[in-house]
Symmetry: C2
């Protein structure tokens, strides 16, 4: 993946989206990831550090190395972590396919919202496996845009979501990767593969999720690709606007929104 | 709902399907439903008793009354329960909209896989509410066929699943009712409404679920409406067969299947 092909772009709004997402979903996705003090942990693809702080806070004393291909993202991740008062995280620029580490350098590898953007996710997992010591663990978290459903039901909204998948596919990524994690991690040579779905279920008894997930995370993400959808004629402006309006309705009283993340764990 | 409009029919294979489904999903759906000894429980729409035994075993000493509109189903439910050696369940024939009970006759009401078949699910919930004592609880469990997704992804398979929703809609039912439970139960006048999604996630590390859920429950249910789909021309025979074959592939090694049930609890 080249920096420029990152589908969600690098705008301010996108940064806020990633921060909101990390905040709201922390418990659901990360509550069961704890690495022992002194263990060597690689965070492969840390981006702007949306997960790095969570990782570090959940594993005090772990020796975390966070890498990303983008120098710009890394800089912001470092700033974010410094502001949060977290120490013990080392940042290094690097390509996930050519990482500058000796084989078996790490006890644990953590990969979150990264594989969806890669044309060769399996090869990435194979490369990472070489960096794990025998018996070390891999943890992968990915979303799946095809898992989204909602009330009120709306066909244009589904089409709008599907545009995200189509655009991501064009840059070599896979917006439906969550459901594939078991197969992908297994085929990359890991053992004891275990996948658990993590559904975000949002009705109006959960106002923080309505705001933090349905609106600021998911709908904002779909809205973010509007210019490309219209530029490429994937939907007409009218259809697109109906779809986006329908997504917003799922965040109104009586609306419901469901989305599933998948978390895989495995051993080398 | 008249007896004849029950979309899944009353064949032997259908009975087996319901039994397999109940067996496989017991833990996921029912582990957190326990009624105190001596409490009066109404199971509204027990069908052939697929859930009745589970209910009774989870709540020893509860006084369970199970009703259904179909005399034939009731007879089989009674036989099933007797064979299982369960006592303390009273069976009565009755229409959910005109039940022969005094107001506030029950401490708890349990409704499982019933509302999806009713043209007026909200009115059913309103009627049931009158039978609950003040502070009594309602528990509702429903599926949602639009929640199904799988790997490998296949468009014909999605269309085949959608035929189930279309056919159910024609008989006044709603195969997408799971996602609506929060709104439905709230609007029927209940309070403290809480909905939790229960996803069945099946990869080939769960062979019992591959067999018991992906094949014998879900795919069998879709296959069961094949004659109507072809009769009504909802899909061509070729498309239908491709869709069914694709559903079977999700149960082969490397395949993944996801489906979400919803469980609502509330108080009168």
């Amino acid at each position: 993946m080249s920096e420029n092909s990152y589908i969600h772009g690098y705008s301010e709004r996108e940064s806020e989206r990633l921060a909101d997402q990390a905040e709201t979903l922390t418990g659901l996705l990360h509550h069961d990831t704890h690495y022992p003090a002194g263990s060597r942990v690689l965070e492969a693809g840390c981006g702007i550090g949306a997960q790095t702080g969570i990782l570090a806070r959940n594993s005090p004393g772990a020796l975390i190395t966070s890498i990303d291909i983008s120098a710009e993202s890394l800089k912001r991740a470092e700033e974010k972590i410094r502001k949060e008062g977290i120490t013990g995280v080392t940042f290094r620029q690097g390509d996930i396919f050519r990482l500058p580490f000796e084989p078996a350098s790490f006890d644990h590898i953590f990969v979150c919202f990264v594989l969806e953007h890669l044309a060769e996710p399996r090869r990435a997992l194979e490369q990472l496996r070489l960096l794990l010591k025998e018996g070390g663990t891999l943890t992968v978290i990915e979303g799946d845009h095809g898992s989204a459903f909602f009330y009120p039901e709306n066909e244009d909204a589904h089409r709008a979501v599907n545009c995200l998948v189509t655009l991501q596919r064009r840059t070599g990524g896979n917006g439906l990767i969550g459901r594939e994690l078991y197969t992908l991690v297994s085929s990359a040579g890991y053992r004891d593969v275990h996948v658990s779905p993590r559904m975000v279920y949002v009705d109006d008894s959960h106002p923080a999720l309505v705001e933090g997930f349905t609106k600021l995370t998911f709908t904002a993400m779909v809205e973010g690709v509007g210019p490309e959808v219209l530029r490429d004629g994937l939907m007409s402006r009218e259809e697109w606007e109906r779809g986006i309006a329908a997504l917003h309705r799922t965040a109104e009283p009586g609306g419901v929104f469901c989305y599933t993340f998948f978390k895989a764990t495995a051993h080398r």
